[in-house]
Symmetry: C2
Subunit: 412 residues, 2 copies
């Protein structure tokens, strides 16, 4: 299935608009865009997936409740403060965000999804945000996609947005999306927000199912630092403006839509890894030949989370010994003497032993910005792929302290 | 129970001797001590614990077989090469090490334990080691403890040895030990070797049980980088030379011995964390108030393995938000609104919310070389403590490449 890239990001589908303002949440003295809005002027069906962390941020709890009660038609999001571990006042603040936006758009409060990303444990600076919230709807524009993508960035260094047009059920539909990374990135939902819009006419049941499937095949397969955030949220709004009859669950059109959606999310997921905090490598890690799916997943995750493996990637070192040691503690069923490990198809380890490929050849591959490691367990037919990165001295340095946020918040 | 420190390390107990030579395993052009021997001139009972990694190094497999068949009376160990992922030839090499030592000491091959530590996947340079193995017994001395401790070091920067005398069953016994770290350190046995000797007269059953208990309370509670090695081994030899009747399992004397042994192992385990590769902090992480023991352990391990938490420790940042986010993904039963987190007893988070302790106070604690974080889940009475470290830019830098080992081994 071929997809055509189109312009406009999250505002590319018919009937969607977006915009952003600066409230000084990140830094009151040097305001940057940090409050964003996505809106459909037509009613939508909506779906969402959320962090599996048991400590959930206030906006996650509020948006989950809104999604259960109503279909979302708008999303308001701030960066610079996660509104997590903020108790009942935090819930009130998240509701206030939805209410303020709903008032200016003539919506019900529960038609607005709320997202936050940033530092944990500080109350939102609602005084600074109030003016921003009141005027936010005035900034809506059908060309506002990039503004939204930029306003949700935290430690991201690149804007992450995409839009495609695809043929679904014989009809042209558009899917647009933007997302942010870039730390606390781990399978089972990253510190990550992603907003997806589409003008496909699609049933609620089909929408929720395809979103879960597409997230499992994209955002749940990336790993930067193995830390899972309190705020991860993917929201999908579909307003049906491309026309046609609603796409039903289980239909051929539903599968086509799912494929297009997964393409969009996987592109953004990979962009998150490429923009991982101060990392330098993009590693595709394929585990094949596992007895069962869960074993393939355990092996891939153990490798992708190993500090020693990630350090060696940073050093261009084709260190298959560290990879096999991580395989050994993954708790997957393995037989050491069957394991093959290759770099871009060149064997480094065969049957659990050093292969004959010259180490220089492997090193040249490991020195590239992007390469593929394939682990074959030779036990069965299950496989799993993760997209991951190295870990760098600069990552640690970058993450040493969030103290400046606390000082800015006046709690020093 | 008070223990008196004595000199001599692993050779302190009556009848034990040790020694080491340089074979150029680490670097043929600049030989350092890398082959060590510990020996009891009297018969022993012996016990061991080994890595739970499913990829086990050849010496681990060989020593496990020897322990099942016989009581060990000697241990031969090399550093610089792990003899892991080396197949059948690796097993032969480990057996050759035991056989060579046994021949010079007049022992059976299976009375010799074999250990290796270093890089994974390379064959041992047996040609270089043969002369060393033949002459090793000539270097045995009752004052050779420190030599043994030094010869098993890899990335360690400090010698790790201890000896105590303790009163067990009304009789004075000595326990001596040495160990090495310092990377691939994780609960469930670290990349870590530890040799323990005692002149206590103790039954086999009591010895094995006390070793398992003492390792569970010491080496299994440390975490540097969350990576579990292929070679971890703790061996305990008891030659009974302090006299008296054998200490039986379940007796008061057995409990006294266990307490003394745990003291010795915990000191060495903490020394491993203090000497973690290029790290700067020693953090005692206490989880209390869990519903069940396993939940306390899950919470402690999630925090101790989080790259973001460890980075914040490196930056003197009392970032309880990152701690609570790791608690949230630990899969333990928690209630966010009950969680307290304190630094050296000063509350940072109370009931899931920011506490009132001035952030400067917390920062002063987090800036210390050593501090205690206490997490109270307020759900029950189970607790678990881990001794752990920060992660530093220097750790990553140090672990970027083992390429020089491969070059030295001539496989470039």
């Amino acid at each position: 299935m071929a997809f055509k890239k189109v312009k406009g990001g999250v505002c590319a589908p018919i009937g969607f608009s977006g915009g952003a303002v600066s409230c000084g949440i990140k830094d009151p003295e040097n305001p940057r865009p940090d409050l964003a809005l996505v809106y459909s002027k037509h009613p939508c069906v909506s779906a969402g997936t959320f962090t599996s962390n048991r400590v959930k941020a206030a906006p996650v709890k509020v948006t989950q409740a809104h999604l259960r009660a109503r279909e979302l038609r708008a999303i308001v999001a701030n960066s610079g403060n996660a509104n997590a571990c903020t108790g009942v006042p935090g819930i009130e603040d998240a509701r206030t965000m939805a209410k303020a936006v709903a008032a200016t758009l003539g919506l019900r409060q529960r038609e607005v999804g709320v997202c936050s990303t940033g530092v944990i444990g500080l109350p939102l600076p609602m005084d600074r945000m109030k003016t921003g919230l009141a005027g936010l709807a005035d900034h809506l524009s059908a060309r506002g996609g990039t503004e939204v993508a930029r306003a949700i960035m935290t430690s991201d260094t690149t804007v992450k947005e995409i839009a495609i047009s695809a043929t679904v059920g014989g009809r042209k539909v558009r899917i647009g999306a933007c997302s942010k990374g870039a730390g606390m990135i781990c399978p089972s939902m990253a510190t990550m927000l992603c907003f997806v819009t589409t003008d496909a006419n699609i049933s609620k049941a089909c929408l929720q199912k395809t979103l879960l499937e597409a997230v499992e095949g994209s955002f749940n397969r990336i790993c930067i630092d193995g830390d899972m955030s309190t705020n991860d949220t993917v929201l999908l709004l579909a307003n049906g403006q491309s026309g046609g009859k609603p796409i039903a669950r289980g239909s051929k059109a539903c599968r086509e839509f799912c494929e297009a959606l997964q393409h969009v999310l996987l592109e953004l997921a990979k962009a998150c890894v490429r923009d991982g905090e101060r990392v330098s490598k993009f590693v595709t890690l394929e585990v094949v030949g596992a007895s069962v799916y869960l074993d393939a997943k355990k092996v891939a995750e153990a490798i992708a989370k190993s500090a020693l493996v990630k350090s060696s990637w940073n050093g261009d070192d084709p260190n298959w010994g560290r990879i096999i040691h991580a395989i050994g503690y993954s708790r997957a069923r393995i037989r050491e003497e069957l394991i093959d490990i290759s770099y871009d198809g060149k064997p480094a380890c065969e049957g659990g032993l050093m292969a004959r490929t010259p180490i220089r050849t492997l090193r040249d591959i490991a020195a590239k910005d992007s390469f593929t490691i394939t682990v074959n367990l030779h036990l069965g037919k299950a496989d799993y792929t993760i997209y991951t990165s190295d870990i760098s001295p600069e990552y640690i340095d970058f993450n040493r302290s969030e103290y400046s946020y606390w000082k800015n918040a006046g709690v020093d």
